[in-house]
Symmetry: C2
Subunit: 233 residues, 2 copies
């Protein structure tokens, strides 16, 4: 059954006018096939809608935040955020598999941990918010749950991939080891700052901070590149 579905709704920071829409979003087709009752509607139609809503919201985010980026690059950036891998990752973060309804067979075969099922369900949940609360409400939810992924992609576009460049440069030298280490976190949960350092053969070559761990590593790599004379300050 539905394990505390209101908790999920709370975690998403969205209160449904009609909680049944969220229930539909959490209903895998295997459940409907097994129960074969009129009231059982699976989440597939909501997924269809959620997919389009998500594309638009993420597209709009990059459109406004990267004013000088061409449409081709906007499209690639969007794909770097809206893909099965990222959707799955976010779905797991919200434990949506635990709230889903499955048929017995699918449950047995580990459906609640399957990548495509979780990714599709997250899209269905986004579709459910859209049906229940409209576009602006959905935008709030999506920008919140995708926040880190969006910032990472944007920064990556603006600043380039310093980690890969550092890796490439150091690979030319044999026997070099490269490590990143998160040495501090500050601030409240919804506004954290992460601090990382990059060590080359054990020696700290750069430090950086950012709103995600990945970003702080990028900034540490940037400082290392500056020290190596490969990047302007």
């Amino acid at each position: 059954m539905f394990k505390d579905i209101l908790r999920l709704s709370g975690n998403l920071k969205y209160e449904f006018n009609d909680i049944n829409i969220l229930k539909t979003a959490l209903t895998h087709s295997s459940y409907v096939n097994e129960h074969n009752n009129k009231n059982g509607i699976s989440n597939e139609r909501l997924e269809f809608l959620g997919d389009a809503v998500l594309d638009l919201i993420v597209g709009e985010y990059f459109f406004y935040n990267l004013k000088n980026t061409s449409e081709g690059k906007l499209s690639k950036l969007r794909s770097s955020v809206v893909n099965e891998e990222t959707l799955f990752e976010i779905g797991v973060k919200f434990s949506i598999g635990d709230y889903m309804r499955f048929g017995k067979g699918e449950l047995k075969f580990g459906g609640k941990k399957r990548k495509s099922i979780i990714a599709d369900c997250l899209e269905a949940i986004i579709g459910a918010v859209f049906i229940d609360g409209g576009y602006e409400a959905t935008k709030k939810v999506v920008l919140n749950i995708f926040k880190e992924k969006l910032i990472e992609a944007k920064e990556f576009k603006l600043n380039g991939d310093y980690k890969s460049r550092l890796q490439e440069i150091l690979q030319k030298t044999n026997g070099v080891t490269l490590n990143y280490n998160l040495y501090n976190e500050t601030g409240p949960d919804n506004d954290k700052v992460f601090y990382s350092e990059v060590r080359v053969n054990g020696e700290i070559l750069g430090r950086g901070s950012g709103s995600t761990k990945k970003l702080s590593e990028q900034m540490a790599a940037k400082e290392a590149l500056v020290k190596l004379g490969e990047e302007d300050v």
Copy 2:
């Protein structure tokens, strides 16, 4: 220059808060490349956004209007409406090529009549409305300018393709000719009813009416199928 751009805005039944956004939507990249000035932004980024807005609005329309249709069929139906051919057709109806800015080369090679350019520009215009007025305002515009296409696709899904079925049945008999004839139109421009008859070897076999010519032909074909005992009333 911009030939009465306000007329286009009026035809779309949308008043822009910032008419410059519409101007950008009407600016082909060839114009910007030729003029190479800072203020010249082409419509490609708006097209990126418009494409996603259009997918969502059309998806939402079918989601609500075809409650028992699977996500796979919803997706196919959307593609039957959101494609270069249809976008071009609607773009031509609004003469958007005449309002566009091109570089001299593109203009010489007939850019203002090129299918992909007109289709892309229509998407850019939809993106412009979205930027200027938000999702709900864009929905109104899109549902209006795509109205006939959406109704046709929906009816086709609900009622099937009677014309093709009639054609198939009659093809089995040699020497049969099949003609459709629009014999009447009533009502004001924005709420027209079309009346068509289908003739088999000159004899009227069915009559039908609908909000588009195509729909009235479908209904005429349905009546013919009923007469032939191939379809229930």
